[in-house]
């Protein structure tokens, strides 16, 4: 049993391997659940039919997909016992994908990943404007990968799979009670504090040319303001051009 769950975990790392616009993560999902279905169905005909059923549309957050995999595994066991219908298994899988993706996108992509990026950039920027000349960069990079993966990524995948299997779809209720929104708020508040501290320390290192300090804070303020109204890439292009023209004129 444990070995088949471990196999599902390893295979779930390929969830988005053949991501497509028609059925999105369907190939990865079917590929992931095969070891578990093999344990349930010894008859190859039945197994193949079952795998084909899981080849339909599926799209969610790749880390949190493990929860849905766990739930689907539990439901498949219940189906064998005659407690649920085949339709319910597939319907639950598809219906849970949306809410779980919403949690994952907000908690991981737009908070945890961004926060870890802020941490590693801060580690380097705290050394001032010549940060890239002075440092041994390996501790920063390894620290980033370890913090991101060992605190956020891997535990979510493994624990999600086990909890999904043991609690079935009640796990969604438990996650909602746990309050991911509070975690998101905490991460974001911490992120802002770190960014302000880093900006202050970094701007001190620009003090030898006072114009640069003013320009640095002016750019932070302007990019904050503009990115509320327009896409970040346009903000970057616009401010880059403004700064470039300014320096060109100054150099001239």
């Amino acid at each position: 049993m444990k070995s088949s769950i471990f196999c599902v975990f390893i295979r779930s790392l390929f969830l988005e391997c053949v991501w497509n616009y028609e059925r999105m993560q369907n190939v990865g999902f079917a590929f992931s659940i095969i070891p578990f279905l093999k344990r349930l169905y010894k008859d190859k005909e039945k197994l193949a039919k079952k795998v084909k059923l899981h080849f339909g549309f599926f799209n969610t957050h790749p880390y949190f997909a493990s929860i849905i995999l766990g739930i689907t595994m539990k439901m498949e066991e219940k189906y064998l016992k005659g407690e649920v219908s085949q339709d319910e298994v597939i319907r639950n899988k598809t219906m849970l994908a949306g809410p779980v993706a919403a949690i994952g996108d907000r908690l991981i992509w737009s908070s945890w990943r961004v926060f870890c990026s802020v941490l590693v950039c801060s580690y380097f920027l705290l050394h001032g404007k010549n940060f890239y000349n002075e440092l041994n960069i390996l501790p920063g990079l390894i620290g980033f990968l370890l913090i991101y993966n060992l605190i956020g990524h891997i535990p979510i995948r493994i624990v999600g799979l086990y909890l999904g299997y043991h609690y079935s779809y009640q796990i969604i209720e438990k996650i909602a009670k746990f309050g991911p929104q509070k975690v998101v708020k905490l991460i974001r508040s911490l992120g802002i504090i770190i960014l302000l501290i880093v900006s202050f320390v970094y701007s001190l290192s620009l003090l030898d040319i006072k114009r640069d300090v003013i320009l640095f804070w002016f750019n932070i303020f302007l990019s904050m303001l503009l990115s509320r109204k327009i896409n970040w890439s346009l903000v970057v292009v616009f401010l880059f051009l403004v700064n470039f023209l300014f320096y060109w004129l100054v150099i001239k």
């Binding site: 079917a30 590929f31 802020v118 380097f124």
Partner: protein, 202 residues
């Protein structure tokens, strides 16, 4: 000859790193800061690798793959900037070219995602005895196809846009190329501002 070798090995290495984005794991090895470190060491310019990595990490910090959105590719931006800097010696132009390469790669990625839809019928029409085998082969196809497409993308972009970058560098006044370090030290402010605004959003 040595430059061609560097371009070839960089493309092969970048292909491997790109697998982290979608194909296997998403361990964030493909983030600009990590890619910057790896390519910096590989090309013997660790400082510039780190500098470009930090800049792109901050600039692309809020570009996230929510739902079915295909994000602008930060990895290709970083790789192209570092290799572009190594072959041209011009940091500013390498950063500009790199920034736009990310958008180009995004469209390549979208195209291949559309192509992936076509191969699904291979499993749909399969007889029951070969379904599992074909799904396993599809995963294998995903890995190989993504790797080869990325390597090809880099080989083409290094040899065409890299060449253009070198030519443009010759025409730019040397002061613009070498005396803009003040500008580089200001650039993290853009990413910091965008990120603070992102964290402030509800």
């Amino acid at each position: 000859m040595f430059v061609s070798f560097k371009i070839l090995v960089s493309s092969l290495l970048a292909g491997l790193i790109h697998l982290d984005i979608l194909v296997f794991g998403q361990f964030m090895i493909s983030r600009p800061i990590v890619v910057g470190g790896i390519f910096g060491y590989f090309l013997g310019i660790p400082q510039y690798g780190l500098l470009i990595g930090v800049l792109f990490e901050l600039l692309y910090i809020i570009e996230i793959p929510v739902g079915i959105k295909v994000p602008v590719d930060a990895t290709s931006s970083t790789v192209f900037s570092i290799v572009g800097f190594e072959i041209s010696g011009c940091l500013i132009l390498s950063l500009i070219f790199g920034f736009f390469i990310g958008f180009l790669y995004k469209y390549v990625d979208m195209l291949t995602r559309s192509l992936n839809s076509v191969v699904l019928s291979w499993v749909d029409t399969a007889k029951n005895e070969v379904v599992i085998k074909r799904i396993n082969l599809l995963i294998f196809y995903g890995i190989i196809f993504t790797y080869l497409r990325t390597v090809l993308f880099y080989l083409i972009s290094f040899s065409s846009l890299g060449y253009l970058l070198c030519v443009l560098c010759k025409f730019l006044p040397s002061r613009i190329i070498f005396d803009v370090h003040s500008l580089i030290s200001i650039l993290p402010a853009l990413g910091i501002g965008i990120c603070i605004n992102h964290f402030l959003e509800k």
